[in-house]
Symmetry: C2
Subunit: 292 residues, 2 copies
Amino acid sequence: MTDTASYTPPKVWTWNKSNGGRFANINRPIAGPTHDKDLPVGRHPLQLYSLATPNGVKVTVLLEELLALGHAGAEYDAWLIRINEGDQFGSGFVAVNPNSKIPALMDRSGPEPVRVFESGAILLYLAEKFGAFLPADPAKRAEVFSWLFWQMGSAPYLGGGFGHFYAYAPSKIEYAIDRFTMEVKRQLDVLDRRLAESPYLGGAEYSIADMAVWPWYGALAKGLLYEDSGTFLQVDEYKHVQRWTDAIAERPAVQRGRMVNRVMGELSSQLHERHEASDFETKTQDKLQAAD
Amino acid sequence: MTDTASYTPPKVWTWNKSNGGRFANINRPIAGPTHDKDLPVGRHPLQLYSLATPNGVKVTVLLEELLALGHAGAEYDAWLIRINEGDQFGSGFVAVNPNSKIPALMDRSGPEPVRVFESGAILLYLAEKFGAFLPADPAKRAEVFSWLFWQMGSAPYLGGGFGHFYAYAPSKIEYAIDRFTMEVKRQLDVLDRRLAESPYLGGAEYSIADMAVWPWYGALAKGLLYEDSGTFLQVDEYKHVQRWTDAIAERPAVQRGRMVNRVMGELSSQLHERHEASDFETKTQDKLQAAD
């Protein structure tokens, strides 16, 4: 590693494939597919291609919440995209999401399939489609929009900034860790102050804003995102975030949504693919256990 | 600066106020106001509190586009928030945006004022309010949503990642510059491939997705965001991004929107506050010139 004080960037940057940290094998300076591969298509109107990262969980939680409300049109097949194996660079996936990130959705309920990518876009698209978890009243709707977009602009500093430099980079760079830690603590305080005055981010009602923020900041508040980070960030100080995190975690739809496309952690928490509501039953876990 | 290879993070992070780089004075690990200060309110329905950074320009471009379409309800007062002087930490501003970032909007057209923060939320709110620059057709709308949210999730790697470590950090950290340069080049390639197949990001029509992306990636493509970065990133390679950037730059509403709340660059490009359409006339520039 070059001493940080002495480095001078070249006139023109070039790709050094050896210098990428834990995710070096999936980070590239070019877009587009690396190989031909079609995506599977199941029998439901909605086809989700995802993985149970925080961005993936946002969407499966919303889908399970919609089904719990009785929206049968929200039935979905959730297919596993193993990002560490490069599934997101297959031609079929790139056609659904040219940005090669999970989650990506195809809505096949209409005459022509509709693609939606970016977790926030998928939440908004589904909330509008089913008229749920997004208020129609302009003031309430504006508040949900504000916190939904707050998540989109903030979490890159958490996942791509703090998480990368604190947990994944090949060496610990003090300046970078310090920069992103300060921002993440500020973000937690923004949430804590909001949740001191309001049960949910958008107001009195649980909404897609909560579903967007919870998988990132709720997990962070419980010290689950990065080892030792709970103590490092002193997450217990954020009492209102803790209360809100716990309340959402108790929702049965959230508990189901967290399991979908999960390939890490306890085996009982993993449902690699989801095609039917009955897939959550224990026998399915047994099948997985036998197959793994 | 600590040698990067030898640093071990402490158990509990503490705030070192001397270690923040160029923006150390405005970055804090806590949220909330630092001082009492009301915001000014003008006579128009929409009150914008902003600065002509890329995030600020998104909104003034949309407002000028709406006015150009004849939506008189989009008349606005644009007030200057000097972020380097801490205006975003005044109590009045924090009440509109608890995240203390520009832009922030108050819509005073209804019985109760409505706050909206986060540039993407403001774009979406205004596009819905006026029924413009956001298609109603679900497939077209989904594509606009996807690219709008793409911008929100991507630009932090450009501004908070690449820009910070390439241009603003107190020393040049090779690993961090390399990490974010690779991602920014990938993002430019994502856009370039999309714009090879489509005139605008959402499809055949100019939309809020273009207005969100252009102030960041159009400026980047012209080498305007960070000194020497055009050559470093080889931005001329992205031909379709160049074509799209030029086409949008020619729009009169975009040219007006770029001037609003601008306090840097050529004096003729600066309109510190905007209260009337006539403020863009040259005589206003002359007044500013005399006053500065």
